[in-house]
Subunit: 158 residues, 2 copies
């Protein structure tokens, strides 16, 4: 059972951009800090832009900003939104071939479990990921080698 790296990267990008606050982040910079493929990130960012999570500014001194406040980005919604294929097993989808589906409780039970999974995620926002504990935020900033001046003084802003 896996979540795609695509979704994983989406979360990491938003986290990074949120931590950087009002300062613009660039794709190259994020790719470098996380040490991941710039090309793949490109697509991740594009989709986050299209879906209204990020504001992508072109041109010199362009970059990325959050388009919503970190408090308003729900983790459950985000993952449902970026993880395209949530069909846990064959019988969840169209092309289902399984003959017992109409009377099968396996499907029902798995669906119930999946709901429980998302209910937990629905209880968190991006702001929660930044660490309610300021020491954790400081540590994240350090690990990402961000300049922390602006951030540690003011509360998180979108």
């Amino acid at each position: 059972m896996h979540i795609t790296r695509y979704t994983d990267y989406s979360l990491r990008v938003l986290l990074y951009v949120a931590l950087k606050g009002e300062e613009r982040s660039t794709i190259s910079e994020i790719a470098e800090r996380y040490n991941i493929s710039r090309n793949h990130l490109m697509k991740v960012v594009q989709e986050l832009n299209r879906k209204g999570y990020l504001q992508a500014i072109r041109g010199k001194h362009g970059g990325l900003l959050l388009k919503q406040r970190a408090e308003d980005i729900n983790i459950g919604a985000l993952i449902r939104d970026t993880e395209q294929d949530l069909e846990l097993v064959e019988c969840f989808g169209d092309r289902n071939q399984c003959v017992i589906t109409p009377a099968c409780r396996i499907k029902t039970v798995l669906a119930e479990a999946l709901n429980a999974f998302f209910e937990v995620l629905d209880g968190y926002t991006l702001a929660d990921m930044l660490g309610p504990d300021p020491r954790m935020r400081t540590e994240l900033i350090r690990l990402l080698q961000l300049r922390d001046s602006s951030l540690l003084k003011s509360p998180v802003s979108a």
Copy 2:
């Protein structure tokens, strides 16, 4: 987000064998009824045998029986047991490269969600899958083209 077909087949096999009760099921028969690859099923059955869910009897008139009572086969445990890779994202595993992991709440939250997923599954057994409602069981038996004589008279037996 997916569960492997391997796990899906494991569930279906146990369901089939359970429905057939004391009569032996064969791999060929199960493959045919579900219309799935006999070879793949072979491996599924082998593992279920190795892990103590099924009793596999060789030789003429051999076949498969449950080794545990349907009431004792927990769905959560079964899926944890057959789904080998439960590392939702990179940072769950060894070869993790993500630099922020030590201070990252994403991991914590996803782990909590995964727990909720399994907690639901832990609440069900294979017996529950057979349908507490006898009409549903009858329907499953019909869909699988099983002879139902022995089953409808006696309660489910392992």
